[in-house]
Amino acid sequence: MHLTRLSFLPGRSRWSRRTAAILAALLLSAPLGEGMETLRTYLPAAEATPTPADQAAPAAEVPPAMAPEAEPVMAKLPPVVRVNVASQSYNFSQPWRKNPPVLRQGLGVVLTDGRILVTAELVNNHTYVELEKPETALKAAAQVEVVDYDANLALLAAPAAEFLQSIGGARLDETAAVGDRVEILQLESNGTPVRTPATITTIEVGAYPVDENAFLVFKLSAPLQSRENSFTVPVFKEDRLVGLVMRYDPRSQTADVVPAPVIQHFLDAAERDPYAGFPRAGLTFADTRDPQLRRFAKLPEGTGGAYITKVLPGSPAAAAGLKVGDVLLRVDGQTIDQDGNYEDPRFGKISLAHYVSTVMQAGQKLPILVWRDGAEIPLEGTVAPRDRSRMVSQPYIFDAPPKFVIVGGLVFSELSRQYLREWGPNWTREAPLHLVYLDRYQNELPANRGKMVYVSSVLPGPNTVGYENLSYEVVEEVNGRPIKSLADLAAAVDSPTDQFHRIKLAEDPGLVVLDVEGSKAEEERIKRDYRLPSLRQLDGAE
């Protein structure tokens, strides 16, 4: 039995957070010492004189003009508030249920107009969003104004002016580049800012948390410590917002950041109603580095080009007349190199995906020059956000209940990746393989396939004898009608052709039959016994 250092620790570990906060506050009030370093000024951006990141700005050096009406100490607070979120996700396996609520804490960045920027991850499925002033713990309810889960950004409505009193507004950085020193801002539980120096190591188009979204990412090298406000941690360069941390890998000590250009696009798009989000071309491409491929495609030596491998039906790329096998040479005047990059004036070689999604706004014309059959062909499209209603399986569903229909004890659901995620982090291996396959390769399905409706579970009863083992069979037809959505299924069971519901499945056993009257009786029993308010939820997420 080793006691070692444990014997020294109990007193300390029993400190309440409150005690710790008081002690920290005492430290801060001291005129000198470590506390001073943390009290760096975040000046309101409009009039800001950038404070060098490596120099502490003592309180006395704040230009008087910068100091708001409140006491000087408060004026030196960074432009952040705590954002406390109660969130309750839906249970997609039992779609009438909500999961137990969870609490998340993050930092919101106060923008110059008083609105508050957070990551979308922080507020997804929120039931209550609350702002908290770091120093005073003053709280105020907040509203989510705009949320973009693709880009992992959300905007909260500005709270009352007095709430933000003494907290400045952050402006977006427009200069950060590879090699720059920046600071990651966190707060101690007592409100003391903690700044971790970091270096921008890479700027590239990378994966965002949901779906297979790829936008600009800044990668930082930083020894970040875990703190309670783990969702949404802002990064500043001097007084300007560089981005929001969306991922941190403690082993490699790298942080992935949603950077200012993506935030700027989000804020610009949020000015317009309805929110259109980030446009897409609707294509995938491969590099043309392989000299054998270049000779096969008769691409001239020394030029670039991205080989189009997929054009989504109904997408701007399809409307422009792009075809698989075309090679993209220029897009909106930008020359495309062999990797599908263009030359960005600030970031250097960056994927074309960044240009289309973030540099351009939805609705802009997109002139394209492609190489086809040994000749250059000019095409033109209009970039537009992706039409999620065309997707067979939604990549994510937040803030809306899952759709379901219960017929006589059989529970039917509509395929979404959110449903498959119920199998946990290894869902691609553990969820039903044919559903994972349908979701993953949904672009290969016929264009008119519609949604996938399947038996997600069985609430056993006299009506479902023999059907207890049904699991995840896709429904093809009900009562002779093709099923391309849960609404189709609901309509089909509302109009039986005789005393039976005939449910044709794409997989074995192929045919399930329910008694119409028996089902009605069973549905009453299910409503009562399982205490379900309704046996249908059709106006859920699209």
Binding site: A286, R295, H434
Partner: protein
């Protein structure tokens, strides 16, 4: 695949042999089999493969033959047999092997081996709770071992040798261990089963399985014409019909009768005869209960047992309810071909084509087991090959399984693991197609994989040189085995 099946252990054990002495019971019929086997290497298919050895049991049957398990002699390069009380190893050979029911018949080159041996006779299915004795060489012992137990259960079981076939099997609680494989399980002086598999690890204890005599007899009858034809299959799926509404809607009046046809597989026994939605009411005049059972020889057993006992070309008569009226349908039984891709294979060299360092192999269980990372698409193609009728478009699923890195293919690396759709414009449906498509004339070879992605292009002008370089560097002995 249910995880329980994975925990089956085949009962072979590696050990050396020395002399043994006579033992009681069927000692005069017992044979200790030593096998040297070479396992094929599916990850480097031109490699000769790993050589190993094992010991199993066998017993003499009439006709100067030895009965044992298929897994005792699979992939064998050299087999010797030793009888009780005779220290001489005699060289043996496989006369017939049935990998789908894990049985094999051996002959001995020098028939003097059989002098002094006594062929064993087969009995019937032992009763539940009756006592049986298993004979063999468990854990590699030289001396004959006898364990005794009772018959615990008679049921259909997956035979783990092929991993896809299931037949009748008898569970006994006699200790059965590696080395018992192929040994006889006796009752009243007759063989009532051939020990073949058990559970290993913490899953269960005292659970051993033997192949019952109906399966053994079927094998013996099947090979009477000199070749083994495999088990026959309906090549259709059927499901219990326990729901009254389901029965009523399909016009089945009797409450306890009928199974529903779910899928019918092309080119199988039922293709063109049965349809999804048909209800099988009886098989060869035997009523089919709605849980898929029949009464056969006084036992309530699986309907499949009727097909199990039949041979290639045999007829089966079905009474079927279709669209509310009864029909009599006669089928001629055949092999379950689409399923064979999912079975483990033995005594075969891996098939492949290698072009410019690009290795093409047909998808199979052995191939899949040799791969480290298997993506969603390949897993789906394997697991759903039969049920989603993928065999229609892909009689063989050809995988670009490996890229032997060389200047000619240095940009091809990301395509590893893809399914080949077309080569030089030709749709690929078999490994033979791969070989013939590469024979087409032209300046480039163009390989298209399933799904998104650019074509893979190989210039023929540099290919011959590259192939020679790759052969040398990677020690490739042959560039194809079709």
């Amino acid at each position: 695949m249910p995880t329980a099946l994975r925990s089956f252990a085949l009962l072979v054990v590696a050990f050396l042999t020395t002399a043994a002495q006579a033992a009681p019971g069927p000692a005069a019929s017992m044979v200790r089999i030593s096998t040297t086997a070479q396992q094929p290497d599916y990850s480097v298919p031109w490699n000769p493969g790993n050589v190993g050895s094992g010991v199993g049991a066998g017993f003499v049957i009439e006709g100067k033959r030895i009965m044992t398990n298929a897994h005792v002699v699979s992939n064998a390069t050299f087999i010797t047999v030793v009888k009780e009380g005779d220290p001489t190893p005699w060289e043996a050979r496989v006369l017939h092997v049935a990998h789908d029911c894990d049985l094999a018949i051996l002959g001995v080159y020098d028939e003097r081996f059989f002098e002094g041996t006594k062929p064993l006779e087969f009995g019937g299915i032992p009763a539940l709770e009756s006592t049986v004795s298993a004979y063999g060489y468990p854990i590699g012992g030289n001396r004959l071992s006898v364990t005794t137990g009772v018959v615990s259960r008679i049921d259909f079981q997956t035979y783990s040798h092929s991993e896809v076939d299931s037949h009748l099997a008898i569970q006994i609680d006699a200790a059965i261990n590696p080395g018992n494989s192929g040994g006889p399980v006796m009752q009243d002086g007759k063989v009532v089963g051939v020990a073949f598999q058990g559970f290993s690890g913490a899953v269960a204890q005292n659970v051993g399985y033997m192949i019952p005599t109906p399966v053994v007899r079927r094998f013996l009858t099947d090979v009477e014409d000199g070749t083994y034809d495999r088990y026959m299959d309906l090549a259709a799926t059927y499901f219990p019909m326990l729901n009254p509404a389901q029965r009523a809607a399909l016009g089945v009046e009797e409450a306890d009768t009928g199974v529903l046809i779910g899928s019918v597989f092309d080119s199988g026994s039922s293709a063109g005869k049965l349809q999804p939605g048909d209800v099988i009411l009886s098989v060869d005049g035997l009523k089919v209960y709605s849980d898929g059972k029949i009464d056969l020889d006084g036992e309530r057993t699986e309907m499949a047992e009727v097909f199990e006992r039949k041979f290639k070309g045999d007829q089966v008569k079905l009474e079927v309810m279709r669209g509310g009226s009864k029909q009599d349908i006669a089928l001629e039984l055949d092999r379950p071909w689409p399923f064979e891709m999912q079975a483990r294979s033995y005594d075969k060299r891996p098939r492949f084509v290698l072009v410019g360092g690009l290795l093409f192999q047909p998808l199979s269980r052995d191939f899949l087991d040799s791969q480290k990372d298997v993506d969603t698409r390949l897993r789906y193609f394997f697991d759903y090959y039969v049920t989603d009728h993928l065999y229609r478009e892909y009689p063989e699923v050809i995988v670009l399984s490996e890229i032997l890195k060389d200047p000619v293919n240095t940009y091809v690396a990301p395509f590893k693991g893809g399914i080949v759709e077309k080569i030089n414009g030709q749709r690929i449906r078999s490994l033979q197609d791969v070989a013939s498509a590469f024979g087409q004339p032209g300046e480039f070879h163009v390989i298209e994989l399933l799904g998104e992605g650019r074509p893979i292009v190989l210039e023929r002008s540099v290919l011959a040189e590259a192939s020679e370089r790759i052969r040398q560097r990677y020690g490739v002995t042959t560039e194809q085995n079709l």
